[in-house]
């Protein structure tokens, strides 16, 4: 009964979403406020229905109802409860249901916080979100229904993909989806603005926090995914330029550009059409990502089950949503006039450079990701584009971006002069150059030029952010000024410092990491990066749904025992593929990372020992960026205006 109930709720949700998308739009055209008012109750009812449906699927998983095909494929009675729950989004159908749930969640959030918005604008936004819901609910019901029954019921389930049986994977998809789907809100705001043909100050003030929150989730989701890949896949890599990763990174880059463009629109009343275009791009890329991941047009290590019918559906949906958005843009954008003027050297210019660089970076990734597909489509042969391409084109763009970033916050709006700018920043430039070089030299010795440059630029971002902060406080009564500083300002500084920390981490780990594949028997040891790794013991371990071989590895520095690690090779009952659980001795300045290879004769294993300096700074940087975003969202000005309108 429960699965049927879930299915019914899903059909109900589709019907309500149709009402939510059509009635308010018609009402907005006819200026009929009663029709427009339908948007809010419809959005809330739709959320309730999708939530019920999601709950039904979750219950089926908890109860081990193997008469449901999706449950039988992705769960097992031996699977621990928390993984049975996360298995709900462990595969295609459930992921989509989670997607729909989050979308209706965002919609209901808009309907709650929209109070001060004009009725026409808010009902249009809700209607557009409704249209997107309709698309996803149809997709679920037509091609990917998670409630399909299996007859006769399976006695036992297939088990969840062992790669996904990990705490990191419980949170990674929901957080990433929050970001992906959250981009639908600024998208809907942009479409509504195009429909009404103008952008005013309240529109920007409204759109900006939503874009920020989506961006925060996207940042956290990508960072979490990278961290998971690092410790779970057993290769010790943190980014693979895999199509699925690229699919999440492209919207992030565009949304980062959007946040900066929104800042210009809010403060200076310019860049308006551009901001709208970026809002459309952000969500378009998140839809494109869904297409790439779900349709199977690209080969990826994230081998999701794929189906051509699904690909066709998403492509049609994609063409409809993005195509009509861009059509609307082509038609109406010229009516949206930007007022602010600025000179060649001004914060506007620097933010424009930021936007161009971020967009070029996104375009290079898009080209690299789609190039194999393009070659194939043109019958020019099969090729694949790997990390060397991405590293080569991406690193120079990012270094340039970081260089400009140091100047941005210190530059005045509208008009500035080189002389003043140099006066304000000369000290931090010199300090960062010296500090950066000393830092590399003292810790690692003579370094390649590019490494030194990248570290110096990383320090430069941090130093110039701090200098900006100091400059802002001024000389007299700094404490009074501190109190007056908007929270968003701190947010910006923290996020920028995060970028610096990230750059330093990436540079150092990619230049100085060491790794060695060795064969160790019990009692033997190997020395890497001044640490002695001793294989102390080998044991067999029983897990709930797997057996494992576990090694005990002691890491010594001189004679002093630093840490003991227990890397494992797991054999899940359900899968012939063994899984590597790495042993990681983590630290702020270095990780030691051990992953087991193959068993050898004579009580020995091959294993890979890795030394990864500053690898944690990569995720620390991402966390700082997200935290900076959070500070900006909490800024008084976003709350005050709403309260004022009440």
């Amino acid at each position: 009964m429960i699965p049927e109930f879930g299915n019914f709720a899903l059909v109900m949700a589709l019907g309500i979403a149709l009402v939510q998308s059509i009635v308010p739009l018609v009402g907005a055209v006819q200026n009929n406020s009663r029709m427009m008012a339908v948007a809010v109750p419809a959005a809330r009812l739709q959320f309730v229905c999708v939530a019920i449906s999601f709950l039904c699927l979750t219950i089926s998983f908890i109860q081990n109802d193997f008469s449901v095909l999706y449950v039988a494929k992705n769960s097992n009675s031996l699977l621990p409860l928390h993984y049975r729950i996360s298995a709900v989004w462990g595969s295609h159908e459930g992921s989509l249901l989670l997607w729909a749930l989050i979308l209706s969640g965002w919609t209901i959030a808009v309907s709650i916080f929209k109070k001060s918005l004009p009725l026409t604008l808010s009902s249009r936004v809700l209607a557009i979100l409704g249209i997107i819901s309709v698309g996803f609910l149809l997709f679920l019901l037509l091609t990917s229904n998670p409630f399909l029954r299996l007859f006769p019921a399976a006695a036992e389930g297939n088990d969840l993909n062992p790669l996904l049986q990990d705490p990191g994977l419980i949170f990674h998809p929901p957080i990433l989806y929050m970001g992906y789907v959250g981009l639908a809100v600024p998208f809907a705001f942009a479409i509504a603005a195009l429909l009404q043909g103008r952008i005013d100050a309240s529109w920007t003030r409204w759109s900006r926090p939503w874009a920020l929150v989506a961006w925060i989730f996207l940042t956290l989701g990508i960072a979490l995914g990278s961290w998971w890949a690092y410790y779970e896949l057993g290769w010790g890599g943190w980014w693979f330029w895999d199509p699925v990763e690229n699919a999440s990174f492209m919207p992030w880059l565009v949304t980062t550009a959007l946040l900066h463009s929104l800042a210009v629109t809010e403060q200076r009343n310019t860049f308006k059409a551009w901001t709208l275009l970026l809002s459309i791009f952000g969500f378009s890329l998140s839809l494109l990502g869904t297409f790439l991941v779900r349709s199977g047009v690209l080969v990826s290590v994230h081998a999701f089950a794929t189906d051509p019918a699904r690909g066709v559906f998403i492509l049609i949906f994609l063409a409809f949503v993005i195509g009509s958005a861009l059509f609307l843009y082509a038609w109406r954008a010229s009516a949206i006039i930007s007022l602010g003027r600025f000179s060649a050297l001004s914060r506007e210019t620097l933010l424009l450079i930021n936007n161009v660089l971020l967009l070029v970076a996104c375009a290079t990734i898009l080209v690299g990701t789609l190039y194999p597909l393009f070659m194939d489509a043109m019958q020019l042969g099969k090729i694949s584009v790997g990390p060397p391409y991405f590293d080569k084109v991406f690193a120079p763009l990012m270094l340039l971006l970081v260089f400009v970033l140091g100047f941005g916050p210190m530059t005045h709006w509208r008009k500035d002069t080189f002389k003043n700018l140099i006066n304000r920043l000369l000290k931090s430039a010199l300090i960062s150059a010296l500090l950066g070089m000393a830092f590399v030299l003292l810790i690692f010795g003579p370094a390649p030029l590019l490494t030194t440059l990248a570290v110096v630029l990383g320090v430069w971002v941090i130093a110039s952010s701090l200098a900006t902060f100091k400059n802002h406080l001024g000389k007299d009564k700094p404490l009074d000024r501190l109190r007056l500083l908007p929270l968003a300002y701190f947010g910006m500084l923290v996020a920028h410092i995060g970028v610096g920390v990230f750059i330093i981490g990436v540079t150092l780990v990619s230049t100085y990491e060491q790794s060695e594949t060795v064969r160790l028997a019990v009692g033997e040891s190997y020395t890497l990066a001044n640490r002695r790794f001793e294989l102390a013991d080998l044991t067999s371990v029983q897990g709930p749904n797997y057996n494992a071989e576990q090694a005990t590895i002691k890491i010594f520095r001189g004679d002093h025992l630093v840490s003991t690690q227990f890397p494992e090779k797991r054999f899940y009952h359900s899968s012939s593929q063994p899984m590597t659980e790495a042993g990681i001795d983590a630290g702020l300045f270095r990780d030691f990372y051990i992953s087991l290879g193959e068993p050898q004769q004579g009580n020995a294993w091959t294993m890979r020992l890795n030394y990864k300096p500053f690898v944690r700074w990569i995720w620390l940087g991402a966390l700082l960026m997200a935290f900076g975003g959070l500070l900006a969202v909490l800024d008084r000005r976003y709350r005050k205006k709403q309260e004022g309108a009440n």
């Binding site: 199977g296 994609l318 861009l326 843009y329 082509a330 010229s334 789609l370 393009f374």
Partner: protein, 177 residues
């Protein structure tokens, strides 16, 4: 203002590429050997190593050459279907035992059944290199003259059989008549 239509046009192009891309199968790697004569080989037979199996033995009828090994898990998955094909008599099925140990291979056949007319032993994988084998399992369809007409990397599925292999065999038979 025409510049506002640029994004739309770019997007149109993208959708076109994606639509074409959707019709292609990314896991399908074209073999340069398709349409060419299979490479010559002469290898000992698994059941009787004193005897040889060569390409000449395969000529004269349509054959499916299946690359397998006892250490290969996917071969185990594929095995029942290979047996089904052999039992149907639609095509003569030969095996190429790839980088395997003789004892293990014989044990494997004893446990799961032996659908092959004959099996050539490619201990060092030399012949497999000539064929361009990516890994086991892999299957080649050879026509009556020993020309490769089809190649499948990975286990042959019922769908491959229905959509690709079976129609090809039918075509070859029609041509013969």
């Amino acid at each position: 203002m025409w510049r506002f239509t640029l994004p739309l046009m770019g997007f149109g192009l993208l959708v076109l590429i994606l639509a074409i891309g959707l019709t292609q199968d990314p896991s399908e790697v074209p073999s340069p050997l398709i349409g060419k004569p299979a490479p010559e080989f002469e290898l000992p037979r698994l059941h009787d190593p004193s005897q040889n199996l060569s390409l000449a033995d395969l000529k004269g009828e349509i054959t499916l050459l299946n690359v397998w090994a006892s250490w290969c898990e996917s071969c185990r998955v594929e095995h029942p279907f290979i047996s089904e094909i052999a039992a149907s008599g639609a095509v003569a099925v030969y095996g190429l035992n790839y980088k395997d140990e003789r004892g293990e291979a014989l044990k494997w056949l004893k446990a799961l059944g032996d659908p092959y007319q004959a099996i050539a032993v490619d201990q060092d994988g030399r012949v497999a290199i000539d064929f361009g084998v990516y890994g086991a399992p892999e299957s080649y369809l050879l026509d009556q003259n020993g020309v490769i007409v089809y190649k499948k990397i990975g286990p042959i599925t019922a769908r491959d059989w229905k959509e690709d292999v079976s129609p090809l065999i039918q075509q070859l038979r029609d041509k013969q008549l």
